[in-house]
Symmetry: D2
Subunit: 370 residues, 4 copies
């Protein structure tokens, strides 16, 4: 019978993570994915676990990122065991570069005892000799790292299946209709009755907000990436400057990302975007210019007005949950998101402060910024 | 403003063909595609223009197929001019093989003056020397041919854009809501007001039937294909036996298709399906065994209860049209479908008999078969 | 037995063309290719048939190009018939752009009656509306065109096989040793006795020059290309400026080429090369910036000191022929090269003037330039 | 200047491993690769480290395999540090299946204390529940494992470059000529003077044996492989039966190999070969039938008469070494081969017994078999 405890709309890394945690907790879970598992923003991600890389404030979003990042080591082991898939976790730290003295002073001001350490130009060049000699130094984000995003999603999905979850591909959800205490999900593969519903379909979640009486809080931000496979360069750590990241993967490939175009729904990498990225990266690491280009791709990241995700139950429709709007941080935040959603559904109240901070109420004040 | 004369749901070859004809006729047209243009069944098709290949009756469906096939030569020229894309039309005929005497007698009984000619075993082997020597002969379908399905779709799309059509990718339609005399299409990219609506999203059209008060008349039939690139074999004509087709393309690739699994929503080619196809094709043309495998893929074909498409206006909601259910014949029927839909929308009454025969009324009698 | 009338070293478009013509003429022919057929410069070519595109003089090299180009229409038909492969011949002309008044005056000076026509800025933009508005006009090379290079090679190879030629892949030739009136070719697949030998292995031909007592007259020129698949742009004609070509293919892909790095043996497209090409092409046709990037690749073109190929018998070793050094013109010159080599081998003296002009004697005067 | 201590002919995993060890030891080393690094048999390998998988005798070849396998854990760390590339070492053991009682008794007879353990049918199915229920049991090869072959090669190459090695791609060696105490290597990129020469070009090494006065002891054995990416199946250990291996990789892909065709120089996977492999694997693990096919490929393995490699100095030409003929064991044996060659060149006499056993003298007795 098409009856489930929980129906999850969206089979990217967020949806699969939630399915994994819920089915592991004994709930009968189904994932409805309109295309293929992890086929959109998830596979396009460079997979950085950058709790610090774009957080300069020490606010609750930073804490969320840090906590999620710190869940990865044990999760990596668990998923390998359950699914046979290695998510390629690396935690060697990242370099955030400064090119001017002013940038350097700013980064130095961020240094702390545990996580962030200022490295002089000489020190950086000793560790990463291919970085441009024009740098002024770099902040070393000691414990930030990376995984392979598509593998996290794939591992979660295989693990969820092992715990009994059903995963429907090519199965868009068109409608969510209240039916007693449960909900009917109307899909291309028929109607499913779900006790609870989780909306986690990235930028395509917008429809469900509106459908369920809320304002759509998201817009797409197109991001293009590039992969190279260096013959000579050995890059040890992720290095970034402004929004250009150089992420060395375990198989010797290096991913370079990402451009950022707001409100562009196109998912193809363009000549303009790719060439901009290529020019930027050659400034950061000039020798990359002579290394082989492998491929380029693009995806749509779901951006909310404040750039933070939503973890929230619908204010009026009990049992409908939103776990979306992760913008550039979907891979990083998948582990904590999965636990928070489980917590909301099982009412175990472990993550109340996150539920409080990443609530839908922000929608009301979004226009004012923060 | 998001207002269009016609909104088309589904950007495969059918949707793009309709968009092309409508925008060429001066209507302000939009296509809403949930993924990428032509990214589903359209690109997976072998592109056969087989009016005869699976039609043994001389009914109106056969006439539809024949008329559509015969539109291709002039369409090929027009699309090349409008879009710069060559759809790779070939009309060299096909061979339908007989392996047993009984099959031979049956095929001989189909021969006619204009289109179908019986060829003896020797004759077939003289023309296509790589066909198995075990054949009893073949029916030559003189005027059947092929195109490159993805190019037809791409050409239609570029042509439609040139005539002013808007094409939205990554844009699923979730809802169709009556709004005065027009319809609101609720999509991931916002709400669009469309005077008329065409549903042409293949097997995913089912939802819109149900949404609009009708029974979903379609089920998916998964089909796997295989491409080889022969080094030695020169195959001139498409050759087929039962449901295994060998289709030589203009670039030297040969497409072999297709398996047929009902009610399977999976879109990956499987070990089982691909190996079955490989075994079948080696019986038909043994030397293919030593030729290089290039790739394998799969898609979902929208099958109705009688295997015929629908060309129909909604019985209760004026201005909603269905052009879907093309099963294995989407590429073949795209040209005539586009004209029929234009005819229905512009009320030019040129294709009344098709509109009559491919009506939604069949839904009522579907269960009875025909 | 491993005995052939002619052994051809190199299985790119030149080698396969020669194999085709020789085996068609009744000679027992073998091709020895160190990797895969057409796997190097041949597949990387944009396939332009540009008799005029880089020839401003009206010398014998221009005549050679023109004659070879004019062989293509009948060759295309013949190869389709023999091999089933369509080489995608297009002869719609090309635009050579002028951006400055001076460039415009120079191009106008080249205009003639039959082949070259000056088009004003307005005229060009009417025909090719996506070209930059900054142009001063363009020379229209009326009859220049293009084919799909890899298909020409593949078609030649299949045709040659049909006429009885043997094609050995993964079969490098290490040595050519005189043996009575014939030659032993020492390969990884054993020793072959060949009455005559043709060296046509592009930039890798150099070794055979030296091995046979001559100076190696070639150096590699690395060229990177880029493919895009425009959603909107309809480009009808090949357009070029300086060394940046925009070549619309029949399937809707557009190839953009090429960079030019001398003495670089690397065959990977690099970040530097690809980004340079992307920047150049956006100047020529700004809207290309928003079109999807499909892939990038690179190859090595064999450049002689004067940029002309060699068609010559070895001055001391009768029966050894060189047909190599085609630089950027391998696809264009394959048909005439094949006929010239056949002519030399069969001693039919039809192409004496080319044999005279593209002789090895130039080697002596290369250093002096011309 | 083009002068090196050692010139290595062949840039697969064997050649790069040797280059790594030699340049690490301070020698000025060059690798000459006719195509791209690791582009032939190396990338095609499934990467098994199967000391036991095909060795039933306890002879010196078995010892060689075991010793090389046991070098991998520390090598993996070293290469990660030097090159940034993770070679994806897994050492979870393999299952060698028995389907009949007789096969079971034979495998039980092989069980020993340290490495080989007999598992009953129930035990195997508990560990690998997707294996066919028709098995009689399996031998567990406790410490055998796998790596990613292309990554081993890539890591060795980057490491070698870091230690100063020069790697020439697209650079076939045509000749080896004695020049005083050194050798001239004649290549497409010019002549290089090398104090010593190592021949490690797999099945293409044959020429150098003959060139240097020896009999070519190798023939190609074509092997086809297949990759699938299971959605459901979790396979923990490599499982094999006869010559069909199922190798789960860390990224969730499963490689299935290999067919075996002697004396076939073709490098394309064929319809026949791939379908045979698909049928075999479905017998071993029936549920694989419904999993997605990703790709198929093929390569040529260099087989000697006794299936053992050669590690030997030329009997007459001092300073010419052979390290080739690794057949199905190139990845497994790369580490020990690299050390043995270093040992021979530096005359450190650590591996005398291997040098003794894998000598060229076997050539004389090859015909007699063993």
């Amino acid at each position: 019978m098409n009856v489930f405890d929980v129906g999850i709309i969206g089979g990217g890394v967020i949806g699969q993570g939630i399915a994994y945690e819920l089915s592991k907790a004994g709930l009968k879970t189904a994932v409805f994915e309109s295309g293929e598992i992890g086929g959109k923003a998830t596979s396009a991600a460079a997979g950085m676990l950058g709790a610090h890389s774009e957080n300069e404030k020490r606010d609750i979003f930073f804490e969320l990122c840090l906590e999620s990042r710190n869940l990865y080591p044990s999760l990596a082991k668990e998923l390998l065991e359950q699914s046979g898939v290695d998510i390629e976790l690396v935690q060697e730290g990242m370099y955030r570069l400064a090119f001017t003295e002013e940038e350097g002073r700013f980064l130095q001001s961020l240094a702390d005892e545990d996580e962030l350490e200022w490295h002089s130009r000489e020190n950086v060049l000793a560790n990463e000799p291919h970085v441009s000699e024009d740098i002024a130094g770099a902040l070393w984000l000691k414990h930030d790292g990376q995984v392979k995003g598509s593998s996290v999603c794939h591992a979660y999905a295989k693990g969820a299946r092992k715990y009994g979850a059903s995963i429907f591909e090519q199965c868009p959800v068109f409608d969510v209709i209240k039916e007693g205490k449960a909900y009917k999900l109307v899909t291309s593969q028929g109607v499913f009755i779900c006790g609870k519903v989780v909306v986690s379909s990235g930028v395509w979640s917008g429809f469900f907000f509106e459908k369920l009486g809320l304002r759509n809080p998201m817009k797409p931000v197109k991001g293009e990436c590039l992969a190279i496979k260096p013959k000579k360069l050995v890059i040890n750590k992720t290095v970034f400057y402004e929004h250009c990241y150089i992420v060395p993967k375990k198989d010797g490939t290096v991913i370079i990302g990402a451009t950022s175009y707001e409100n562009d729904w196109d998912t193809h990498p363009t000549v303009k975007g790719v060439s901009e990225l290529m020019i930027k990266v050659q400034k950061i690491m000039p020798e990359i210019g002579s290394e082989p280009v492998v491929s380029a791709w693009s995806s749509l990241r779901p951006q909310t007005a404040d750039g933070w995700p939503y973890f929230a139950e619908h204010p009026e429709h009990e049992g409908i949950f939103f776990a979306t709007g992760h913008y550039r941080n979907g891979i990083l935040l998948a582990p904590i998101t999965s636990l928070i959603v489980k917590d909301m559904i099982l009412k175990t109240n472990q993550y109340e402060r996150y539920v409080h901070s990443f609530s839908l109420n922000r929608l009301l004040s979004d226009a004012k910024g923060r």
